[in-house]
Amino acid sequence: MSTSPVAVRGPDRNPRAGVVVGPIGLAWRPRLIAVTVVALAAALVLLVVSIGVGSVALTPVDVVRALTGGGTDLQRLIVLQLRLPRALTGALVGLVLGIAGALTQTFTRNPLATPDVIGVTSGASAGAVAAIVLGGGTYSVSTLLLGGGIPVAATLGALIAAALVYGLGWRGGVESYRLILVGIGVGSVLTAITSYLLVRAQISEAQQATVWLVGSLSGASWPSLWPLLAVASVAVPLSIATSTALGLSQLGDETAVGVGLSIQRHRLTVIALAVVLTAAAVAAAGPVGFVAFVVPQVALRVAATSRPPIVLSGLVGTALVLAADLAGRTVFPGEVPVGLVTTVVGAPYLIWLLVRHRKELVS
């Protein structure tokens, strides 16, 4: 029998083999497991390297020693108080954005439908900027975050954006580009609102908010990390738990219901998770562009699966954000915000996708 060039043969595409342990039974997917382990290792290495880089350079051994309670007092201070919050924020932002993108791309069956492309990130930013400008008078991350201001406002903004996009754009069906077009429109309106808020703001607030709006880890601290950590520890396991349902939703609504998926509940779960994950990332680091959009597609390709695997997308997101932050701090003179680096990487991919799908867009 001749094989077509599209038919990649491999063990992952053959869930005939599996593993059964007590009540747990899983198809054996060695390639997925292998690339996930590699991604995890890469993320950990980047985390350690990222903590080591700075005005006082530390070797990876110093970093690990300080993390585990050893090393000098100064090393522990630098690692635990100054650099760990930033590195962990970057790691978690990448994790939750990668997962949010994987959720929405699978559920809409459209690689363009990610929080950053369809306006949910803009909603979160508008909410956060409103909290900064209208709420505080001065932009003080720590006090606002401690009061829950920015995370709550970002979540509200993301929810409003998601509700608008879903309400106005869904009717054309999941594969329709209507959702994308409405999302881009909603995103533009929300970005305009953000700009208006910035124009009205005091010059110093506006300046700081602008840096934050590019997506930056420079303001990360333990207080700004806690809300993100709390959201991630609940929403990430829940996202992993939607895996089976996501696999069914890939077959289209009617078939998915046919094999027993409660599509309504699934839709609400996925939207809620994507909104909460996106808002948490935006509240902690600003809108780090294109991570949710690019990362799941990378994960899908390296794993050779039919949809972006959730865990792998999260780990690739972590690696990408940490690497982008590292590049922003070391490759260029001065400090380039992480969001700028990810945008430079991600924007060309968006343009390529749009050009490739031009036909569907105009029809």
Binding site: M1, T3, S4, V6, A7, V8, R9, R13, N14, P15, R16, A17, G18, V20, P23, I24, G25, L26, A27, R109, A241, T244, G247, L248, Q250, L251, G252, D253, E254, T255, V257, G258, V259, G260, L261, S262, L300, A304, T305, S306, R307
Partner: protein, 264 residues
């Protein structure tokens, strides 16, 4: 005919509408267990609409559907999926999904959250692939198959679901005559061997007559003829439901009605 058995599916006073546009105003239908029923009618006569309502995809604006006597709307969707499988009119698979991977998803109603795979499931999938003649292409990308092979993949998914009632919307569209016959023979074999109830939609009236116990002709928002193929397929019904002038002769092979359109 008196039956004491519960109908496999029953529609009672079904009113089906899209955004206020009514397709059926009040439809009653009983599907006997173990029978093969085919819905026929012109394009847009509401065959898919009715099938969707029977499969709880479309919510009726009035009336109800009973699955083995129980209101389908009140059963958990996974419970329904164990008893009823459905094949939509034009399903589509995402790129990169293998045949076996897709068919495995048909096992979902029998799986628990922690166990999306078991050796049993793998065995059922193997049998479904064999029954549909797909064993050789099991590891290929669904998107890389021919239209006819792809159609059989979706049928394999429904077979793997092991439900007592199957709803199939145009399972033979896009197939050449040989493969149409393959699919219909497979449907009949499943019906005979496991006593499954089948409700399907077909456009070829002669094949529908050959492979069905009962035909239901839909037209103008209702049922215009209903019964054994030999009674239903008449020149008068064809004229009414399809606006078709045709003769009906006995099929020389099976004796079932064969539709021969008049010359223009």
């Amino acid at each position: 005919m008196t039956t004491t058995t519960l109908p496999a599916l029953e529609a009672r006073g079904l009113r089906l509408a899209y955004d206020g546009r009514t397709v059926f105003a009040g439809l009653d239908l009983r599907i006997e267990p173990g029978s093969v029923t085919t819905l026929v009618g012109a394009n847009g006569s509401g065959k898919s609409t009715l099938l969707k309502a029977l499969g709880r995809i479309l919510k009726p604006s009035a009336g109800e559907v009973l699955l083995e006597g129980e209101p389908i709307a009140r059963l958990a969707t996974k419970e329904v999926a164990r008893r009823l499988a459905l094949l939509p009119q034009s399903p589509s698979a995402p790129p990169g999904m293998s045949v076996r991977d897709l068919v495995l998803r048909g096992r979902n109603p029998h799986q628990t959250w922690a166990r999306p795979w078991s050796p049993d499931d793998a065995a059922v999938v193997d049998r479904a692939l064999e029954a549909t003649g797909l064993t050789d292409v099991a590891d290929r990308d669904v998107a890389a198959l021919s239209g006819g092979q792809r159609q059989r993949v979706w049928i394999a998914l429904v077979v793997a679901q092991e439900a007592a009632t199957l709803l199939l919307d145009e399972p033979t569209t896009f197939l050449d005559l040989t493969h149409q016959l393959d699919v219909l023979r497979l449907v009949r074999r499943i019906n005979r061997e496991s006593g499954s109830t089948v409700v399907m939609v077909l456009h070829d009236l002669s094949l529908a007559a050959r492979y069905s116990d009962r035909l239901v002709v839909l037209h103008g928002g209702g049922v215009v003829a209903d019964g054994p193929p030999a009674e239903v397929i008449t020149p008068a019904t064809l004229e009414l439901a399809f606006g078709l002038r045709a003769r009906v002769i006995p099929d020389p092979v099976t004796g079932t009605p064969l539709v021969v359109p008049e010359d223009d």
